[in-house]
Symmetry: C2
Subunit: 260 residues, 2 copies
């Protein structure tokens, strides 16, 4: 398994490479198509990790785990139910989740697996879909919970989940990742709040990529957040939330109050 | 009033410029920041118009006209109610609206005014907002009507409106456009189906840009589709739909059945 990261070096330069035990082996070219090692490596402590990809959109699933669907009393959907989070919402590991100005309500975390698309795809079959998946990352699909149902006529999915900093991705994109035996673990200020198996997914990655590619073109770097399961909850200002998936790593972000 | 367009020349070259009576005065640089005339002009008939901007997202409003809200029995919202259409849905004048494979249901047109953002903005006030508006274009906010409510638990706004080719923009971006006295006219195979005044808008452009900029960063080229009013309806395969706003021009697209 290879773990790809983007980084900012001490001199401000942004690059990408492969994460190893002692740092990053820098590469150049196109991470999705033609990455070549530069021969340089950056020792740990000399760089900051960034969001590992720059999606044009995050396609975020609702009701895609049996356990949460059962708790909510919702039938398993036959087609992915999703909203779109804009590219402007994305942050990387260690960056602050910024409470929106003029919003004093609950902000929820949702630990999720993210599928990272490697090649533009449209109308692909489930058997073709794995060839369009570059790898997997951790997602915190952050939500301004009280915005969602603020208006009784229209559920505000895109607004409540689309704020800048509400799409946390990272720390790496793991290729050759076997999701079938992995779990998503979410810790809030160190206390475990979610720990669920990805095998409980209703529509698995190949099916999601295939079906969503029939709804819209998916571009390299786009992320499908496969949905969350039991244990999602809210975070107070100053809280630190960690999404951990073995083989991908740990994505940690802290909630920051607006400067008044 | 200046009307900016993007075009593909006869030799395949893509460029942009100002639309005049006899063709396009080509410019180079950044249309939103530093456009300079090249001195070349392209006579009418030697180029094809493209979508006039390439939005990272279209923010599409629901329930933003008093007349349609009253017909639907919905209260006027105090904050914009919107979904996000991805950049991959955008087409320009003359391009085909492609019926999705495996969808045999109704496809609806919605003639709308589109606000084109000229400068990145976040948390701007209504009085600052006009400085971030580059101009205005026509939008056909196309919808796979039967997808929207296919699942009783989750209204599929992003999916039903996000298909490739479902975001028709053009033919031009008009700057210094006075929306207060303009009307949106939609013709289906030549027959007028919508003709409503933009003055009936619930939240006007400066208010929309300000409020949506508090929800997410808006980028140069992003489009806010301000919502539609009475007369929206469905289009059969082969039908031609035209959205016309005086001062902007006529945006015409034809619905195409999938190749089986």
């Amino acid at each position: 398994m290879t773990r790809w990261v983007r980084f900012r070096a001490g001199d401000g330069r942004v690059g990408f490479g492969v994460l190893g035990a002692n740092g990053v082996l820098e590469h150049n070219g196109d991470v999705f198509a033609s990455a070549q090692p530069t021969g340089r490596s950056l020792p740990s402590g000399t760089f900051t990790l960034l969001n590992p990809c720059q999606p044009s959109k995050i396609v975020a699933l609702w009701n895609n785990f049996h356990a949460l669907g059962a708790k909510l009393g919702k039938a398993a959907p036959s087609h992915p139910l999703f909203l779109i989070k804009p590219g402007t919402c994305v942050i990387g590991p260690g960056e602050a989740i910024q409470r929106p100005k003029a919003y004093g309500g609950k902000i929820a975390f949702e630990g999720e697996l993210g599928i990272v698309i490697g090649r533009r795809c449209k109308d692909v079959s489930p058997s073709e879909a794995p060839g369009f998946i570059f790898g997997y990352t951790c997602v915190n699909d952050v939500t301004a919970a009280e915005v969602l149902n603020e208006n009784g006529d229209f559920a505000q999915w895109c607004r409540s989940k689309g704020y800048d900093t509400f799409g946390c991705l990272g720390p790496a994109i793991a290729t050759d990742f076997d999701w079938t035996h992995a779990r998503v673990i979410t810790r809030l200020d160190g206390a475990e709040r979610q720990n669920y198996p990805l095998s409980d997914m209703i529509l698995p990655p190949a099916e999601l990529v295939s079906r969503i590619s029939h709804d819209m073109s998916l571009l390299p770097g786009d992320v499908i957040a496969v949905g969350t399961s039991l244990g999602l909850g809210s975070m107070k200002d100053g809280a630190t939330v960690e999404i951990y998936i073995e083989g991908i790593g740990s994505l940690t972000n802290t909630v920051r109050a607006p400067v008044r």
